[in-house]
Subunit: 205 residues, 2 copies
Protein backbone atom coordinates (compact mmCIF):
# COMPACT_ATOMS: atom_id res chain seq x y z
CA UNK A 1 0.00 0.00 0.00
CA UNK A 2 3.07 2.27 0.04
CA UNK A 3 2.62 2.20 -3.73
CA UNK A 4 -0.66 4.02 -3.19
CA UNK A 5 0.68 6.49 -0.65
CA UNK A 6 3.36 7.70 -3.06
CA UNK A 7 0.73 8.91 -5.50
CA UNK A 8 -0.05 12.61 -5.66
CA UNK A 9 -2.71 13.46 -3.12
CA UNK A 10 -5.36 14.53 -5.60
CA UNK A 11 -5.28 11.13 -7.25
CA UNK A 12 -5.43 9.44 -3.88
CA UNK A 13 -8.53 11.40 -2.94
CA UNK A 14 -10.20 10.53 -6.24
CA UNK A 15 -9.58 6.84 -5.78
CA UNK A 16 -10.58 6.88 -2.12
CA UNK A 17 -13.82 8.67 -2.87
CA UNK A 18 -14.64 6.27 -5.67
CA UNK A 19 -14.06 3.30 -3.39
CA UNK A 20 -15.97 4.83 -0.48
CA UNK A 21 -18.87 5.61 -2.76
CA UNK A 22 -19.05 2.14 -4.29
CA UNK A 23 -18.69 0.23 -1.04
CA UNK A 24 -21.06 2.61 0.71
CA UNK A 25 -23.70 2.36 -1.95
CA UNK A 26 -23.57 -1.35 -2.80
CA UNK A 27 -21.91 -3.03 0.18
CA UNK A 28 -18.78 -5.16 0.05
CA UNK A 29 -20.13 -8.07 -2.01
CA UNK A 30 -21.90 -6.06 -4.70
CA UNK A 31 -19.24 -3.39 -5.15
CA UNK A 32 -16.82 -4.69 -7.77
CA UNK A 33 -13.23 -3.59 -8.12
CA UNK A 34 -14.01 -2.74 -11.73
CA UNK A 35 -16.77 -0.32 -10.65
CA UNK A 36 -14.31 1.46 -8.40
CA UNK A 37 -11.60 1.62 -11.04
CA UNK A 38 -13.94 3.02 -13.69
CA UNK A 39 -15.39 5.56 -11.27
CA UNK A 40 -11.88 6.65 -10.30
CA UNK A 41 -10.78 6.85 -13.94
CA UNK A 42 -8.00 4.29 -13.63
CA UNK A 43 -7.59 0.67 -14.66
CA UNK A 44 -8.64 -2.25 -12.54
CA UNK A 45 -5.07 -3.56 -12.54
CA UNK A 46 -3.90 -0.37 -10.86
CA UNK A 47 -6.27 -0.90 -7.97
CA UNK A 48 -4.68 -4.28 -7.31
CA UNK A 49 -1.26 -2.72 -7.80
CA UNK A 50 -2.01 -0.17 -5.11
CA UNK A 51 -3.87 -2.24 -2.55
CA UNK A 52 -3.14 -5.90 -3.30
CA UNK A 53 -6.65 -7.20 -3.00
CA UNK A 54 -10.25 -6.10 -2.62
CA UNK A 55 -10.21 -6.97 1.05
CA UNK A 56 -7.03 -5.00 1.70
CA UNK A 57 -8.59 -2.00 -0.02
CA UNK A 58 -11.63 -2.29 2.21
CA UNK A 59 -9.45 -2.59 5.28
CA UNK A 60 -7.52 0.50 4.27
CA UNK A 61 -10.74 2.47 3.90
CA UNK A 62 -11.86 1.37 7.36
CA UNK A 63 -8.73 2.68 9.06
CA UNK A 64 -8.75 5.76 6.83
CA UNK A 65 -12.28 6.79 7.70
CA UNK A 66 -11.83 5.73 11.30
CA UNK A 67 -8.83 8.01 11.69
CA UNK A 68 -10.65 10.96 10.11
CA UNK A 69 -13.68 10.58 12.32
CA UNK A 70 -11.60 10.18 15.46
CA UNK A 71 -9.37 13.14 14.82
CA UNK A 72 -12.18 15.45 13.83
CA UNK A 73 -14.02 14.59 17.01
CA UNK A 74 -10.90 14.99 19.12
CA UNK A 75 -10.18 18.35 17.53
CA UNK A 76 -13.59 19.78 18.40
CA UNK A 77 -13.64 19.48 22.16
CA UNK A 78 -17.20 19.05 23.23
CA UNK A 79 -16.64 19.23 26.94
CA UNK A 80 -15.94 22.94 26.74
CA UNK A 81 -19.38 23.64 25.37
CA UNK A 82 -21.83 23.59 28.22
CA UNK A 83 -25.02 24.36 26.31
CA UNK A 84 -27.05 21.68 24.62
CA UNK A 85 -27.67 23.68 21.45
CA UNK A 86 -24.05 24.69 21.20
CA UNK A 87 -22.95 21.09 21.38
CA UNK A 88 -25.48 20.03 18.76
CA UNK A 89 -24.40 22.85 16.49
CA UNK A 90 -20.70 22.13 16.92
CA UNK A 91 -21.24 18.46 16.21
CA UNK A 92 -23.12 19.27 13.04
CA UNK A 93 -20.56 21.76 11.84
CA UNK A 94 -17.76 19.29 12.42
CA UNK A 95 -19.59 16.62 10.51
CA UNK A 96 -20.45 18.98 7.67
CA UNK A 97 -16.84 20.05 7.28
CA UNK A 98 -15.67 16.46 7.15
CA UNK A 99 -18.37 15.59 4.64
CA UNK A 100 -17.45 18.50 2.43
CA UNK A 101 -13.93 17.17 1.97
CA UNK A 102 -15.00 13.56 1.67
CA UNK A 103 -18.68 13.24 0.85
CA UNK A 104 -18.93 9.47 1.03
CA UNK A 105 -17.45 8.89 4.47
CA UNK A 106 -20.70 8.80 6.39
CA UNK A 107 -22.34 6.65 3.75
CA UNK A 108 -19.43 4.23 3.90
CA UNK A 109 -19.38 4.03 7.67
CA UNK A 110 -23.13 3.62 7.80
CA UNK A 111 -22.95 0.70 5.39
CA UNK A 112 -19.99 -0.77 7.25
CA UNK A 113 -22.11 -1.07 10.37
CA UNK A 114 -24.61 -3.27 8.55
CA UNK A 115 -22.07 -5.15 6.43
CA UNK A 116 -22.47 -8.92 6.59
CA UNK A 117 -19.97 -10.24 4.02
CA UNK A 118 -18.03 -13.17 5.45
CA UNK A 119 -14.79 -12.08 3.81
CA UNK A 120 -14.48 -8.90 5.86
CA UNK A 121 -16.19 -9.99 9.06
CA UNK A 122 -12.94 -10.17 11.02
CA UNK A 123 -11.68 -6.68 10.24
CA UNK A 124 -15.16 -5.27 10.76
CA UNK A 125 -15.54 -6.51 14.32
CA UNK A 126 -12.16 -5.00 15.10
CA UNK A 127 -13.25 -1.70 13.56
CA UNK A 128 -16.52 -1.61 15.46
CA UNK A 129 -14.78 -2.16 18.78
CA UNK A 130 -12.41 0.72 18.14
CA UNK A 131 -14.91 3.33 17.02
CA UNK A 132 -18.00 2.20 18.91
CA UNK A 133 -17.45 4.56 21.77
CA UNK A 134 -17.47 7.93 20.00
CA UNK A 135 -20.62 10.07 19.94
CA UNK A 136 -21.45 9.93 23.62
CA UNK A 137 -21.13 13.68 23.52
CA UNK A 138 -24.74 14.42 22.75
CA UNK A 139 -26.21 13.17 26.00
CA UNK A 140 -28.65 15.43 27.76
CA UNK A 141 -27.10 16.99 30.83
CA UNK A 142 -28.80 18.05 34.04
CA UNK A 143 -28.09 21.74 33.59
CA UNK A 144 -29.61 21.71 30.12
CA UNK A 145 -33.05 20.76 31.28
CA UNK A 146 -33.48 23.70 33.60
CA UNK A 147 -33.12 26.18 30.78
CA UNK A 148 -36.35 25.09 29.13
CA UNK A 149 -39.61 26.90 29.73
CA UNK A 150 -41.10 23.46 30.08
CA UNK A 151 -38.42 21.03 31.33
CA UNK A 152 -40.34 18.12 29.84
CA UNK A 153 -39.61 19.52 26.41
CA UNK A 154 -35.87 18.95 26.80
CA UNK A 155 -35.99 15.25 25.98
CA UNK A 156 -38.36 15.90 23.07
CA UNK A 157 -36.15 18.62 21.64
CA UNK A 158 -33.16 16.30 21.78
CA UNK A 159 -35.12 13.74 19.77
CA UNK A 160 -36.11 16.42 17.28
CA UNK A 161 -32.49 17.41 16.84
CA UNK A 162 -31.41 13.80 16.41
CA UNK A 163 -34.03 13.29 13.70
CA UNK A 164 -32.98 16.51 12.02
CA UNK A 165 -29.36 15.39 12.02
CA UNK A 166 -30.30 12.11 10.39
CA UNK A 167 -32.41 13.85 7.80
CA UNK A 168 -29.64 16.38 7.23
CA UNK A 169 -27.09 13.64 6.60
CA UNK A 170 -29.46 11.81 4.26
CA UNK A 171 -30.12 15.05 2.44
CA UNK A 172 -26.42 15.79 1.98
CA UNK A 173 -25.75 12.30 0.68
CA UNK A 174 -28.50 12.30 -1.94
CA UNK A 175 -27.86 15.70 -3.44
CA UNK A 176 -24.27 16.07 -4.52
CA UNK A 177 -24.75 19.48 -6.01
CA UNK A 178 -25.80 20.99 -2.72
CA UNK A 179 -23.45 23.58 -1.39
CA UNK A 180 -22.80 22.40 2.11
CA UNK A 181 -22.08 25.78 3.59
CA UNK A 182 -25.48 27.18 2.65
CA UNK A 183 -27.23 24.14 4.02
CA UNK A 184 -25.26 24.57 7.19
CA UNK A 185 -26.47 28.15 7.41
CA UNK A 186 -30.05 26.93 7.25
CA UNK A 187 -29.28 24.40 9.93
CA UNK A 188 -27.91 27.10 12.20
CA UNK A 189 -31.01 29.15 11.62
CA UNK A 190 -33.23 26.27 12.61
CA UNK A 191 -31.33 25.58 15.78
CA UNK A 192 -31.39 29.26 16.70
CA UNK A 193 -35.16 29.35 16.26
CA UNK A 194 -35.58 26.29 18.43
CA UNK A 195 -33.50 27.77 21.22
CA UNK A 196 -35.29 31.10 20.98
CA UNK A 197 -38.70 29.51 21.40
CA UNK A 198 -37.98 26.72 23.85
CA UNK A 199 -35.63 28.41 26.31
CA UNK A 200 -36.62 30.65 29.17
CA UNK A 201 -35.96 34.29 28.36
CA UNK A 202 -33.16 34.67 30.85
CA UNK A 203 -31.06 32.13 28.96
CA UNK A 204 -31.32 33.87 25.62
CA UNK A 205 -28.60 36.46 26.31
Amino acid sequence: MDKFLSLKEEKQVTIINAALGCFGKYGYAKASVNDIAVLAGISKASVFQYFGSKKQLYAYLLTYTGDIIMSSFRQADFDEKTDLFDRILLSSLTEAKTLEKNPYISQFILSAWTETADEVRDILTEFKNETGKFRNHLILRKDDVSKFKNPNDAETVLQILMLMAEGYAAHCRNDEKTVYSSLTDDFQKMIAAMRRNFYKEEYLL
Copy 2:
Protein backbone atom coordinates in the same frame (compact mmCIF):
# COMPACT_ATOMS: atom_id res chain seq x y z
CA MET B 1 -48.12 -11.92 -14.50
CA ASP B 2 -51.60 -13.43 -13.94
CA LYS B 3 -49.62 -16.41 -12.69
CA PHE B 4 -48.36 -14.20 -9.88
CA LEU B 5 -51.71 -12.64 -9.08
CA SER B 6 -53.31 -16.05 -8.52
CA LEU B 7 -50.93 -16.74 -5.62
CA LYS B 8 -52.21 -16.36 -2.09
CA GLU B 9 -51.76 -12.79 -0.95
CA GLU B 10 -49.30 -13.52 1.82
CA LYS B 11 -46.89 -15.08 -0.64
CA GLN B 12 -47.35 -12.16 -3.01
CA VAL B 13 -46.45 -9.71 -0.25
CA THR B 14 -43.36 -11.72 0.68
CA ILE B 15 -42.10 -11.74 -2.90
CA ILE B 16 -42.92 -8.09 -3.47
CA ASN B 17 -41.13 -7.03 -0.32
CA ALA B 18 -38.08 -9.07 -1.22
CA ALA B 19 -37.96 -7.51 -4.66
CA LEU B 20 -38.58 -3.98 -3.37
CA GLY B 21 -35.84 -4.44 -0.80
CA CYS B 22 -33.26 -5.75 -3.25
CA PHE B 23 -33.94 -3.19 -5.97
CA GLY B 24 -34.14 -0.41 -3.40
CA LYS B 25 -30.90 -1.38 -1.73
CA TYR B 26 -28.73 -2.23 -4.73
CA GLY B 27 -30.37 -0.59 -7.73
CA TYR B 28 -31.54 -2.39 -10.85
CA ALA B 29 -28.18 -3.54 -12.18
CA LYS B 30 -26.73 -4.89 -8.93
CA ALA B 31 -29.88 -6.57 -7.67
CA SER B 32 -29.93 -10.07 -9.07
CA VAL B 33 -33.01 -12.20 -9.57
CA ASN B 34 -31.34 -14.87 -7.47
CA ASP B 35 -30.99 -12.47 -4.53
CA ILE B 36 -34.69 -11.73 -4.69
CA ALA B 37 -35.66 -15.39 -4.96
CA VAL B 38 -33.50 -16.42 -2.00
CA LEU B 39 -34.78 -13.53 0.11
CA ALA B 40 -38.36 -14.44 -0.75
CA GLY B 41 -37.73 -18.11 0.00
CA ILE B 42 -38.60 -19.34 -3.48
CA SER B 43 -36.61 -20.57 -6.45
CA LYS B 44 -35.22 -18.31 -9.10
CA ALA B 45 -37.16 -20.17 -11.76
CA SER B 46 -40.41 -19.26 -10.04
CA VAL B 47 -39.62 -15.57 -10.31
CA PHE B 48 -39.33 -15.91 -14.06
CA GLN B 49 -42.46 -18.06 -14.07
CA TYR B 50 -44.37 -15.26 -12.33
CA PHE B 51 -43.01 -12.18 -14.05
CA GLY B 52 -41.36 -13.31 -17.28
CA SER B 53 -38.19 -11.29 -16.97
CA LYS B 54 -36.25 -9.08 -14.59
CA LYS B 55 -37.40 -5.96 -16.38
CA GLN B 56 -41.06 -6.97 -16.24
CA LEU B 57 -40.72 -7.57 -12.51
CA TYR B 58 -39.27 -4.10 -12.08
CA ALA B 59 -42.05 -2.58 -14.16
CA TYR B 60 -44.65 -4.35 -12.06
CA LEU B 61 -43.10 -2.97 -8.88
CA LEU B 62 -43.20 0.54 -10.32
CA THR B 63 -46.92 0.46 -11.02
CA TYR B 64 -47.55 -1.39 -7.74
CA THR B 65 -45.81 1.19 -5.57
CA GLY B 66 -47.14 4.04 -7.67
CA ASP B 67 -50.72 2.89 -7.11
CA ILE B 68 -50.19 2.52 -3.36
CA ILE B 69 -48.70 5.97 -2.99
CA MET B 70 -51.38 7.60 -5.08
CA SER B 71 -54.30 5.97 -3.32
CA SER B 72 -52.95 6.58 0.16
CA PHE B 73 -52.52 10.23 -0.66
CA ARG B 74 -55.96 10.48 -2.20
CA GLN B 75 -57.51 8.79 0.79
CA ALA B 76 -56.12 11.27 3.28
CA ASP B 77 -57.58 14.53 2.12
CA PHE B 78 -55.16 17.26 3.00
CA ASP B 79 -57.27 20.18 1.94
CA GLU B 80 -59.60 19.73 4.87
CA LYS B 81 -56.83 20.33 7.35
CA THR B 82 -56.23 24.03 7.59
CA ASP B 83 -53.40 24.04 10.13
CA LEU B 84 -49.76 23.55 9.14
CA PHE B 85 -48.96 21.17 11.99
CA ASP B 86 -52.10 19.14 11.39
CA ARG B 87 -51.18 18.70 7.76
CA ILE B 88 -47.63 17.67 8.62
CA LEU B 89 -48.90 15.21 11.19
CA LEU B 90 -51.47 13.72 8.85
CA SER B 91 -48.88 13.33 6.13
CA SER B 92 -46.53 11.56 8.50
CA LEU B 93 -49.21 9.26 9.82
CA THR B 94 -50.26 8.31 6.32
CA GLU B 95 -46.69 7.58 5.35
CA ALA B 96 -46.05 5.61 8.53
CA LYS B 97 -49.11 3.43 7.96
CA THR B 98 -48.04 2.70 4.41
CA LEU B 99 -44.51 1.91 5.53
CA GLU B 100 -45.73 -0.43 8.24
CA LYS B 101 -47.47 -2.63 5.71
CA ASN B 102 -44.71 -2.42 3.14
CA PRO B 103 -41.44 -1.23 4.65
CA TYR B 104 -39.42 -1.05 1.47
CA ILE B 105 -41.68 1.13 -0.64
CA SER B 106 -40.03 4.44 0.15
CA GLN B 107 -36.57 2.95 -0.25
CA PHE B 108 -37.54 1.53 -3.62
CA ILE B 109 -39.10 4.74 -4.88
CA LEU B 110 -36.15 6.76 -3.66
CA SER B 111 -33.75 4.53 -5.54
CA ALA B 112 -35.99 4.56 -8.62
CA TRP B 113 -35.58 8.33 -8.84
CA THR B 114 -31.81 7.97 -9.14
CA GLU B 115 -31.84 4.80 -11.23
CA THR B 116 -29.68 5.03 -14.35
CA ALA B 117 -29.75 1.51 -15.83
CA ASP B 118 -30.29 1.66 -19.58
CA GLU B 119 -32.55 -1.37 -19.57
CA VAL B 120 -35.30 0.32 -17.56
CA ARG B 121 -34.84 3.92 -18.67
CA ASP B 122 -38.01 3.93 -20.78
CA ILE B 123 -40.40 2.71 -18.11
CA LEU B 124 -38.76 4.97 -15.55
CA THR B 125 -39.37 8.20 -17.44
CA GLU B 126 -43.02 7.19 -17.81
CA PHE B 127 -43.24 6.51 -14.08
CA LYS B 128 -41.65 9.80 -13.12
CA ASN B 129 -44.07 11.77 -15.26
CA GLU B 130 -47.05 10.10 -13.62
CA THR B 131 -46.04 10.45 -9.99
CA GLY B 132 -44.02 13.64 -10.13
CA LYS B 133 -46.85 15.89 -9.11
CA PHE B 134 -47.87 14.43 -5.71
CA ARG B 135 -46.61 15.99 -2.46
CA ASN B 136 -47.52 19.58 -3.15
CA HIS B 137 -49.64 19.39 -0.05
CA LEU B 138 -47.01 20.58 2.37
CA ILE B 139 -46.69 24.10 1.06
CA LEU B 140 -46.74 26.88 3.56
CA ARG B 141 -50.01 28.81 3.41
CA LYS B 142 -50.60 32.44 4.21
CA ASP B 143 -52.82 31.82 7.20
CA ASP B 144 -50.19 29.57 8.78
CA VAL B 145 -47.62 32.29 9.11
CA SER B 146 -49.75 34.59 11.21
CA LYS B 147 -50.07 32.03 13.96
CA PHE B 148 -46.41 32.20 14.84
CA LYS B 149 -45.12 34.40 17.62
CA ASN B 150 -42.40 35.36 15.19
CA PRO B 151 -43.73 35.05 11.61
CA ASN B 152 -40.18 34.64 10.32
CA ASP B 153 -39.99 31.34 12.14
CA ALA B 154 -42.69 29.78 9.97
CA GLU B 155 -40.38 29.04 7.05
CA THR B 156 -37.70 27.76 9.40
CA VAL B 157 -40.12 25.45 11.20
CA LEU B 158 -41.25 24.02 7.90
CA GLN B 159 -37.63 23.21 7.06
CA ILE B 160 -37.17 21.62 10.46
CA LEU B 161 -40.21 19.45 9.92
CA MET B 162 -39.01 18.45 6.47
CA LEU B 163 -35.64 17.41 7.88
CA MET B 164 -37.34 15.52 10.69
CA ALA B 165 -39.48 13.65 8.18
CA GLU B 166 -36.43 12.63 6.21
CA GLY B 167 -34.63 11.50 9.33
CA TYR B 168 -37.75 9.71 10.49
CA ALA B 169 -38.01 7.81 7.23
CA ALA B 170 -34.31 6.91 7.32
CA HIS B 171 -34.70 5.77 10.90
CA CYS B 172 -37.65 3.53 10.07
CA ARG B 173 -35.80 1.99 7.18
CA ASN B 174 -32.64 1.13 9.10
CA ASP B 175 -34.26 -0.41 12.15
CA GLU B 176 -36.72 -3.11 11.19
CA LYS B 177 -37.46 -4.11 14.75
CA THR B 178 -38.79 -0.69 15.63
CA VAL B 179 -42.46 -0.63 16.49
CA TYR B 180 -43.81 2.03 14.22
CA SER B 181 -46.70 3.01 16.43
CA SER B 182 -44.44 3.97 19.32
CA LEU B 183 -42.16 5.95 17.05
CA THR B 184 -45.20 7.68 15.69
CA ASP B 185 -46.23 8.59 19.23
CA ASP B 186 -42.84 10.21 19.75
CA PHE B 187 -43.26 12.06 16.49
CA GLN B 188 -46.62 13.40 17.60
CA LYS B 189 -45.07 14.52 20.86
CA MET B 190 -42.36 16.41 19.02
CA ILE B 191 -44.80 18.19 16.77
CA ALA B 192 -46.98 19.09 19.72
CA ALA B 193 -44.00 20.59 21.51
CA MET B 194 -43.09 22.62 18.45
CA ARG B 195 -46.56 24.01 18.11
CA ARG B 196 -46.78 24.79 21.81
CA ASN B 197 -43.59 26.81 21.76
CA PHE B 198 -43.79 28.51 18.38
CA TYR B 199 -47.44 29.46 18.19
CA LYS B 200 -49.03 32.49 19.76
CA GLU B 201 -50.98 31.54 22.83
CA GLU B 202 -54.36 32.33 21.32
CA TYR B 203 -53.87 29.57 18.75
CA LEU B 204 -53.11 26.83 21.27
CA LEU B 205 -56.73 26.13 22.26
